[in-house]
C-alpha cells in the first residue's frame, strides 16, 4: 500500500479551515470528510510500530 506523508491530513485541514473562513461552509465540511479519510488511512500505516506489544 502507498504510505502517505504524515503532513497530508494537516494540509487538507488547512484547506478546510481557510475555505470555511472565506465563506464556503458545505465545501469545508466535504474537505473535512477528505481530511478524516486521510487521517484514518495514515493511522493504518502506523498501526505496526516498534512500540507495539503482543496482544
Amino acid at each position: 500500500m502507498i504510505s502517505l506523508p504524515m503532513a497530508v491530513p494537516f494540509v487538507v485541514l488547512v484547506l478546510a479551515a481557510i475555505v470555511a473562513m472565506v465563506g464556503f461552509r458545505r465545501t469545508a465540511v466535504w474537505i473535512w470528510f477528505l481530511a478524516l479519510a486521510v487521517t484514518v488511512y495514515v493511522l493504518q500505516s502506523h498501526i505496526t510500530d516498534p512500540l507495539k506489544i503482543a496482544l
Binding site: 506523508p5 494537516f10 485541514l13 470555511a20 487521517t39
Partner: protein, 180 residues
Amino acid sequence: MLALSRALNALALLGICGVLLAAFYWQLARGELPCPLCLLQRAALLGAGLGFMLNVRFGSSESHYGVVIVSALVGAAVAARQVLLHIVPGTGSHGSALLGWHFYTWALVAFFLIALFAGALLFIQAQFAEGVSDWRPTPTAQVLGWLFVLIVLGNAVSTLLECGFGPCPDNPTGYELLQK
C-alpha cells in the same frame, strides 16, 4: 439560550486552540517532538476544532456538531491505541507526563469530554432556529476563526518539517527537512 450556545462554541474553540498551543510549547520550548500517533491526535483535535469553528463562523448546525463528534471519536480511537501500547507494566511510555498522566492519556479524556460537550450542546434547540444562511459572524468570531486557521497552518508546517514528504519515523529525534 442562543447566546449561551454561541458563547459555549466560542469557548470550546478557544479551549482547543489553547490545548494545541500548549502542545506547541512542549514541542518548541521543551524539545519533545510529537510521535506519529501524537500527530494524528492533533489532526483529530483540529477536526473537532473545525466543527466548533464552523458553528462560530456560520451559526450552529447539526452537521457542524457531527464534525466535532466524529473527529473526537477518531481522536479517542488513536489515543486509546497509544494508551494500550503502554498499558502493560514494563512497556515504557512516550514523552513526559503532566500531573501524573501522559499526553495521550489526557488526549483520550479530552476527546471523550469534547464528544460529551458537543452532544450536550445539541440539546439547545434554539440555536438551530436562526439557520446558517442568515448568520453574520461577529468580529470576535472572525478573529477566533483566523487564529484557528493560523494554528492549523502551524501544525501543517511543523509536521512537514518533522516528517518530510514520507511517513513519520516511529520515534522522531529531529526535524527531517531541516537535517538535509
